[in-house]
Amino acid sequence: MRRVLRTSAAWRLSIWTTLAFALGTGLAFSIVYFLVARGIQERSDAWLRGEARVLAQVSADTPRDRLYRRVVTEVVELATREVPDERNEQGQSLNAVFFLEQDPNNSDGPLWVGPADEGPFLSAIQQAKPVAGAPQPIKVDSWPTTFQVVALYENGRTIYLGLSNRGAQHLLGKLTRRFLMVWGGTVLMGFLISYLSARRTLFRVERITETVARIGTEDLCERLPAQAKSDEISRLSETFNRMLDRIQSSVNQLRCVTDAVAHDLKSPITSIRGTLESALCNEPKEMWCDSIGEAIEGLDRLLHVLNTTLDVAEAQAGALRMDRSTVDLSDVVRKLVDLYQPAMAERHHEVLVDLENHAAVDADPGLLNRVVSNLLENELTHLPAGHRIAIRLHSYNGSTKLVIEDDGPGFPPDVSNRAFERFVKGKHSPGHGLGLAFVGAVVHAHGGAVSISDRPTGGAVITVSLPTSILQPA
């Protein structure tokens, strides 16, 4: 259990938030406590000073006669009533006040008004010798709290007025006790709330972890359940699901590719093997030449499929080695059209060329050659004899577009939206479905785009657009 708690993020998270919360509220309370204590102190000091001055005046104005002591005592008692009468739970007054007048000329001795036992007070004052006019705390024996005492010296007499700090301390003590009770409760509740909500949230993460672990080891078709709330965690599981979709489609694609490669390799291998075997068994040695030639041609086709497959895979994985320079695409197209023209003519195709001069693009010249040759090869392989092929090249708005259009039967419907994937080809197509995949991958690697469509009047249109270079070809 302890180990589980230690490794749980919910536990750690709530410990830290609680600690921060407790420290913060504690600090806030200390500030309030300090301000309140100072306020009380200032008020009692102000009262002491004012009252001491009044009493000194009274004592000075009252004639020294028989009634003197009574008059002063009454005035003092009157004044002490101004202090709110606070009592503790045992009914003991908390605002003990005393008054002491020491007059060496008065033969009756010091005048004392206050708690009955004046001895400890007198000796404490004797010891402390308070400075005139400034209230200061004095400890009196047998009293639990200090007294704030102010002294006034006038005409040889000394007046002391003292007020017990007990009331203030009691108030502050009560404040602290209440705070600690509330504080403890709040901190505990805060801890519980943050722990529970963190655990609730992280429990969802834990569930995702479990599901993903299961998907990782068992079934790639499984998905994380949709989350009710739309928050970070639901986004996490959506992202996971999207990733799983991609992985699954890659795996499926890989399976298709493997099947297609196996098929595309197996049939030529079978035919090569058959050719050679039948030559060896049935033909006289002088006739072997043809069979061997046929076998080599078969091997070359095999190699072509293999190389193109790997090229497309490499291009789609973004691992193409590109050596870019500024190339005039119109030159490339013109040269390749010249190369393909006789073969096109052989198939009775008419090739119309409309090329804008100086269509500069930043590209790998070798790859660009292969892109354009693949497009022409595509026409040569798939277009039934006797059609018209229009090749147009123009730059507009920072983009160079090469459009190859024919008036043939167009793309088969099952191919048209996936023509640039590997091994996608029409049912009766003689190719391997690699040419356009290669074109798509390479053009994308160059930051361009390829699209295919059907002409309204029939026929296929392939558009390759590449970003126009800002430089002139070298």
Binding site: D290, E294, H304, L339, N369
Partner: protein, 225 residues
């Protein structure tokens, strides 16, 4: 001409031996870099043919060691890797050459010839080529069969020139695309064949001996009986 073939695959070594001896070369072979280095240092070879994937050392390191010991023998590199890495490109600029597996024997022989020619005598820059009664004037861009001037397009002339320069030697379609059109493209269609067919119609007249021959599965050769 004496060659050193360094190749660990004995099947490939065997067919290279047969083909190269057939082509008139003398041959030493080695199956690993250590043996190859010892043999190379005897210093009596005109060219090395080195496979990159040797069991005990990378072929490029072997070449570097030979160069470090002062050997300047040209090297033809054989590589099973499809994309040619930068270091091999570097060697190519230094006068050596590379070929990726699988390769046509005709191309291997052509590259070897190039390599040996580069390292010894300067290229024979004649302005006239002749094969049987076919004559090419490279300055005036004119081709004649006997007395008859052939009407060739510039492209057809370049193609004929390339075949003529290799009279008696087979050239593959890839080599033709590379040398005549200066393009390394991989085609599964008959584009080269159609060019050859057109050229043949102009060069091999009905009345004369045919010069351009098809070697099925390999390529074409210009030769006369």
């Amino acid at each position: 001409m004496r060659l050193l073939v360094v190749e660990d695959d004995l099947a490939i070594q065997g067919f290279l031996r047969r083909a190269l001896v057939e082509a008139g070369y003398q041959l030493d072979t080695a199956s690993d870099a250590k043996t190859a280095e010892l043999k190379a240092l005897e210093g009596s070879h005109d060219a090395f043919i080195i496979d990159l994937g040797l069991p005990d050392m990378d072929g490029l390191d072997l070449i570097a060691r030979c160069r470090a010991q002062g050997s300047s023998t040209p090297v033809l590199i054989l590589s099973a890797r499809r994309s040619v890495d930068e270091r091999v490109r570097g060697l190519e600029q230094g006068g050596d050459d590379y070929l990726t597996k699988p390769f046509a024997l005709a191309e291997l022989l052509a590259r070897l010839r190039n390599l040996l020619r580069r390292s010894s005598a300067p290229q024979n820059d004649s302005v006239r080529l002749q094969a049987a009664d076919l004559q090419l004037d490279l300055v005036r861009h004119e081709a004649r069969r006997g007395d008859q001037l052939l009407q060739l397009t510039p492209q057809e002339f370049s193609l004929l020139e390339y075949l003529c320069r290799n009279t008696g030697r087979v050239v593959t379609r890839t080599m033709i695309l590379d040398h005549v059109w200066r393009m390394r493209i991989d085609t599964a269609t008959n584009i080269v064949d159609v060019h050859i067919y057109r050229l043949r119609n102009k060069v091999d007249l009905k009345t004369s001996e045919p010069l351009i021959h098809t070697i099925r599965g390999v390529g074409y050769v210009l030769k006369h009986a």
